[in-house]
């Protein structure tokens, strides 16, 4: 048996504490997340002739369809300033959120073999999914720029502020993704529930329709819709892109002070994600 005489100091070495959400060398965390994301990215286009071109071509075609349907056939956006750009900006952001949360949700379970066989900071798993989402977002943004140029939207200084709501959306998406992935380890019904929630959110967010339509109908309804942080942030992005012709999030919710509601929800959701993930991480390998 071990002869650890009382009084002998433990060796000046590090202690193995077991798995956690974030621990150890941050460089290793980054390396892992980056490598996993790059691998997934490669596998995604595996076997296709056009390869990476698809990551640009696909949003371009999808946006083209939406553009034709909603501005030429069904004129939902009649009267709205630069409606196609509004539509596409909102679509790009919503796609990002639905992609990141949707794939983060199953990520821990999908990466089961890794989680069970290697010790690494567990946050790497949703983080890699998030990185792919960001890469797609960047590519879609390029497509969006093409549409902005085609639509003759005047360049304005407020464009410089666009990264702020986009960054907030990204943080919220990561937080929500972490929450969902941690819950999914235990409850497999999170997946269908989340699909329904996303579908509902798509229509409850001013994406296809301009928010002015909602305000015209009922300011209360607009306030309720804008309480959704995603809706508020998307509306703010539209405002920053196009200018005063489009109501800002504060105007849409009916007073800047009311923006505290979506802000609080965003913070709460992200904090819940971090907390829940940190709790699940140590036992994820056993519970999967």
């Amino acid at each position: 048996m071990t002869t650890s005489a009382p009084g002998t100091a433990p060796p000046p070495a590090y202690r193995v504490t077991g798995p956690s959400a974030v621990s150890g060398d941050p460089r290793r965390l980054w390396n892992l997340a980056r490598t996993l994301a790059a691998t997934d990215w490669k596998v995604r286009f595996f076997g296709s002739v056009l390869g990476y071109v698809w990551s640009l071509l696909r949003p371009l075609l999808l946006f083209g369809i939406l553009y034709v349907v909603f501005s030429e056939i069904v004129d939902v956006g009649a009267g709205a300033v630069a409606y196609p750009v509004q539509l596409l900006a909102a679509m790009v952001l919503f796609f990002f959120v639905s992609e990141v949360t949707g794939s983060a949700l199953t990520s821990l379970v999908d990466r089961e073999t890794l989680v069970r066989k290697v010790g690494f900071p567990r946050v790497v798993v949703p983080l890699s999914v998030w990185l792919i989402g960001l890469a797609n977002l960047a590519l879609n943004a390029i497509v969006l720029v093409v549409f902005v140029v085609l639509q003759d939207v005047e360049p304005r200084w407020s464009w410089l502020l666009v990264p702020i709501p986009v960054a907030l959306i990204a943080v919220g998406a990561l937080g929500t993704g972490m929450l969902l992935s941690a819950l999914y380890v235990r409850f497999r019904d999170v997946k269908p529930i989340w699909e329904v929630v996303l579908q509902a959110a798509f229509y409850a967010t001013p994406i296809l329709y301009p928010v002015e339509r909602v305000i015209e109908a009922s300011q209360t309804l607009a306030t309720v819709l804008m309480a959704n942080p995603l809706a508020a942030l998307i509306q703010e992005t539209r405002h920053l892109l196009i200018g005063p012709g489009v109501p800002s999030a504060g105007e849409a919710i009916g007073g800047t002070a009311l923006l505290a509601i979506p802000a609080a929800i965003l913070v709460a959701l992200t904090a819940a994600g971090v907390w829940r993930f940190a709790r699940t991480a140590p036992t994820a390998a056993e519970d999967l």
Partner: protein, 405 residues
């Protein structure tokens, strides 16, 4: 490396509740769990540059211990300290993706094992060279044979430099040549002063590599000693010595011979005269039978034979061949007959058949009990033959024959 009082329990739910509906429908039902104590108060130290084995039967907690050390499971109690960088190899080729090429997979696997992507790219050529897969670099992994995949994975493992290697039975894979390569690599790592922790149930590996070893049984440390002693203990653990009565059955009736004698029971015993169903190789032992003589007899012949699992007769001894006079017996007399010898049989199970015969040619049987009991020879070294008799090699150079020159 030091481990102190490590414990780990798993909760095994009787019914896995995976959906909210199940929760909602049965809110009052407490989930019932069975606690499985996988590890209990495990403590040991491993010094720098030492090769340490962790052995135990299936389900003894070896792999759980390994996963705790590797940071995959969180221990319930106890502390673990490490000095230096550790590379755990729980499984070969972690993160391999069948749709990607060797290059991509090497990168993923190496990064999973703690190498930076830049280092992994640097070492890629030597990894491929070691795996002898230069001609197949651009092939997708799914087109590799399983042997090639293993070679690639092992090659990555070799190129991860760490002070402490944690290896979980990965050496059990591959063909003989590959295994030899594994051994060479391990030996080299050992020579370089790296610490090696080997989890296995292959005793020959433990004896080959490990200075010391730890024997786990039901999550507890049963023994911690030099690897040879542990290997012996492990074999005995696999063939428990506790249940003597079940193996050595009392015999109530003879099933052979003319009934001139009755073999009541037969057993094997150790040098101290204790009955045991396991005999250690290289030690003295004895085969014993108890006979009741039913008819007055002069010079009965007592004999034993042992057959191995393949029904090969490995030993036959009789008093007649040994020219021993056994004397005369009256009806009803009880005789204990024992033959003792040094046990040089290869490890394995043997069946004992005692017999009693009339003297002289023909040797009509008075009693025989076919395979009345069996005995397990324990031992950790065998040349692979039926017996491992003590031996000695002698060699000398013979000078060339002057006549032939």
């Amino acid at each position: 490396m030091r481990v102190e009082g490590l414990s780990k329990a798993f909760r095994l739910p009787h019914e896995q509740v995976h959906t909210l509906k199940e929760r909602a429908l049965h809110p009052m039902r407490r989930q019932r769990f069975e606690r499985l104590q996988a590890l209990e108060g495990v403590s040991f130290d491993v010094g720098r540059g030492e090769s340490f084995g962790i052995v135990g039967r299936n389900g003894s907690g070896k792999s759980t211990l390994m996963k705790c050390l590797a940071g995959i499971y969180r221990a319930d109690r106890g502390d673990m300290w490490l000095r230096g960088r550790m590379a755990p190899f729980i499984e070969l080729g972690v993160g391999f993706n069948p749709d990607l090429t060797a290059r991509d997979n090497v990168l993923i696997n190496a990064v999973m094992l703690g190498v930076s992507p830049a280092q992994a790219r640097e070492r890629y050529d030597s990894i491929i060279a070691f795996a002898e897969l230069e001609d197949f670099q651009d092939l997708k992994l799914k087109n590799y044979s399983s042997g090639m995949q293993v070679r690639l994975a092992f090659s990555v493992m070799v190129h991860v430099d760490a002070d402490l290697l944690l290896i979980d039975e990965v050496l059990a894979v591959g063909d003989a040549a590959f295994q030899q390569k594994c051994y060479d690599v391990l030996n080299r790592a050992k020579d370089e002063g790296r610490t090696i922790l080997l989890v296995t149930h292959d005793m020959s590996q433990v004896q080959r590599f490990c200075d010391r070893a730890l024997l786990l049984e039901r999550g507890k440390v049963v023994a911690l000693d030099d690897s040879r002693t542990i290997a012996r203990g492990y074999t005995q653990l696999n063939f428990p010595t506790t249940d003597v009565s079940a193996t050595v059955r009392a015999i109530t009736e003879s099933d052979g011979g003319d009934g001139g004698a009755e073999i009541l029971e037969a057993w094997t015993q150790d040098p101290e005269g204790n009955r045991t169903p396991t005999l250690e190789q290289g030690h003295p032992c004895a085969l014993v039978m108890r006979v009741r003589i039913t008819r007055p007899t002069q010079e009965p012949v007592f004999g034993f034979s042992l057959t191995d699992e393949q029904h090969r007769r490995v030993l036959v001894v009789t008093t007649e061949w040994d020219d021993r006079t056994t004397g005369g017996y009256d009806a009803g007399e009880l005789v204990n007959v024992a033959v003792s010898f040094d046990n040089w049989f290869a490890p394995g199970r043997y069946h004992l058949t005692p017999h009693v015969a009339y003297p002289g040619a023909g040797g009509q049987l008075m009693a025989v009990r076919e395979s009345v009991t069996s005995v397990v020879v324990t031992g950790s070294r065998t040349g692979g033959g039926i017996v491992d008799v003590p031996h000695d090699f002698v060699w000398n150079t013979v000078s060339p024959d002057p006549a032939a020159a």
